[in-house]
């Protein structure tokens, strides 16, 4: 437990299982963690370790067409998100908790201008007028570093590069100044140079807007320098928790050691393969 200030988010014994006919497979096997207001927490693990499903549990987003059942409690500002009704959840999504997805190429609606997509969310949550929402959309595009934002707001997603689209998605996610931003592998689909820019942008926005950040990745390189605390996940469980420095310097678990060893390092002699 964190001590004096009550955590923004308290997850206790979270489970998640997919039900397919008679067969059920549990992908998250009872994990507990806290995220304090303004804190940034990383989740690291290989594909299929349950980190994305954990993130989706916080927003109660089940993949379309699956029967995902959650258990445990997800206390967000004292409210159990797994118990509230869908209406309440819709108000929380985007307003209190927002998410940036892995693939910026497909996460924007191809037939709406990016401006319209930001305006929709702003109007949905703040009830702003069309002209105010428009102003806010341009501000947000500017905030995430899109040049000539007023003009670009009228462009369609296909007129943006991958990195730019991820910026737009980030703009949408932070449009209502959420308390918690979940970034699910936000840089996996991007070039290395663009990755660094997006990570810097996320850091800057977290600072400026005072958001908590939950950063999910399979890449220790992404985590380093970004987060206060790291949870290492394996097979639906958290196997190790610690500060980035502590984990890098002295990994306790064999799995964490193996993960760290899997990152190619430039400062170590020797060739790959």
């Amino acid at each position: 437990m964190m001590g004096a200030p009550v955590a923004l988010l308290q997850v206790r014994g979270l489970t998640a299982q997919f039900n397919r006919g008679d067969a059920a497979s549990q992908v998250v096997k009872g994990i507990s963690f806290d995220i304090g207001a303004g804190e940034s927490v990383g989740f690291v693990g290989e594909s299929g370790c349950g980190k994305s499903v954990t993130a989706r549990a916080l927003m109660r987003l089940a993949p379309e067409g699956s029967s995902l059942a959650w258990g445990g409690t997800v206390l967000f500002k004292g409210q159990d998100l797994l118990q509230v009704n869908e209406r309440v959840m819709q108000d929380i999504r985007g307003r209190r908790i927002a998410m940036v997805f892995q693939d910026p190429m497909s996460s924007l609606n191809p037939v709406l201008t990016v401006g319209a997509q930001i305006e929709d969310v702003v109007r949905r949550h703040t009830g702003a007028s069309a002209s105010r929402a428009r102003k806010r959309a341009v501000e947000l595009l500017d905030l995430v570093g899109i040049r000539d934002a007023a003009r670009r707001a009228d462009d369609y997603p296909h007129q943006f590069s991958g990195g730019m689209r991820q910026r737009v998605l980030i703009a949408i996610a932070v449009s209502c100044q959420p308390d918690l931003l979940i970034a699910d592998e936000p840089t996996t689909a991007l070039d290395v140079t663009v990755q660094a820019q997006i990570l810097r942008l996320l850091m800057r926005l977290r600072r400026e807007l005072g958001m908590a950040l939950m950063l999910i990745t399979h890449d220790f390189g992404v985590i380093a320098g970004m987060v206060d605390r790291v949870h290492v996940m394996l097979d639906g469980r958290i196997v190790e928790t610690g500060s980035v420095d502590a984990l890098f310097a002295n990994p306790q678990q064999a799995y964490t050691q193996a993960l760290l060893a899997a990152v190619p390092r430039l400062d170590v002699a020797g060739k790959l393969a």
Binding site: Q90, R93, M99, F101, S106, N109, V111, L169
Partner: protein, 274 residues
């Protein structure tokens, strides 16, 4: 791609189709104004060949054939447009609902539509018209019932796939309601196949309506329509071939319009989606 390019940069097929459509629409809107005679007005010369006064000649009781073709076209096309609009609206609502909501509701609605779909179009149309009686509203209702299942299927298929796309989840993750996701983030992406199917349905509807009218199940006389004209003229085919060729050519032209348009649309929208 700018808005202008997307709307204007058509192909030849599309241009021809639109031109043909424009002439059909003009006939529908202004039919009674441009017809040279009252289509029900009889004259002394029956079954006359083309003359300066009657460009296409007259029918068995001396009515001007050109006027009857134009005004008859108006009736046929009006029924077609209204009926298909109705079928498209019903198909969109049902298809979007079934595809998006899924589950038991989807199964129930689609099985009911399957039953309607399983009947041969003409049998069903004849049954409905026979039960309700031949009138313009009944004919419209019949056509709408007959073609709704097809459109619902054409809508449902792509909805099933589009609702799994990432941008739908992204929209959900910022609190967009399910209704708005369905109408704003799914529906606009499935417009292309629906447009093509609509055009093909228009072609088939014209054919169905004229066939029903030919069988005496169309709008009641004396208002002219292509199907009824064909059936009346059949007996005098040798004496006045134009009385048969006229409506037949009109039917072919109208049907062809929508087939050409459908092909043009398909080509155009395929390019646009690339």
């Amino acid at each position: 791609m700018t808005e202008r390019q997307r709307l204007g940069g058509g192909n030849a097929m599309m241009s021809i189709g639109l031109l043909m459509l424009a002439s059909l629409v003009a006939i529908t809107l202004f039919g009674t104004l441009i017809a040279p005679y009252n289509p029900s007005e009889t004259s002394a010369d029956s079954l006359a060949g083309p003359t300066a006064a009657h460009w296409l000649g007259t029918d068995s009781i001396g009515r001007d054939l050109l006027s009857r073709l134009i005004v008859g076209g108006r009736t046929t096309l009006l029924i077609t447009f209204v009926a298909v609009t109705l079928a498209v609206c019903c198909g969109l609502v049902l298809g979007l609902f079934c595809g998006y909501v899924g589950g038991l509701a989807d199964q129930v609605v689609m099985r009911i539509l399957d039953v309607v779909f399983a009947f041969p179009v003409f049998l069903l149309a004849i049954a409905v018209v026979a039960a309700l009686g031949p009138s313009v509203p009944n004919l419209i209702l019949t056509i709408a019932i007959v073609y709704t299942p097809r459109l619902a299927r054409v809508v449902r298929g792509p909805v099933l796939s589009v609702k799994r796309w990432d941008h739908v989840e992204a929209a959900r993750s910022v609190g967009v309601s399910e209704f708005n996701i369905a109408t704003r983030h799914v529906l606009p992406l499935i417009v292309s196949p629906v447009l093509v199917e609509t055009s093909l349905t228009l072609a088939q509807t014209i054919f169905t309506i004229t066939a029903l009218s030919f069988l005496g199940l169309g709008p009641p006389p004396p208002d002219p329509n292509w199907g009824a004209m064909l059936s009346e003229a059949r007996q005098f085919m040798e004496l006045a071939p134009l009385t048969v060729i006229g409506p037949a050519a009109a039917i072919v032209f109208a049907t062809l319009t929508f087939i050409v348009l459908a092909n043009g649309l398909r080509e155009r929208l395929d390019v646009a989606s690339r």
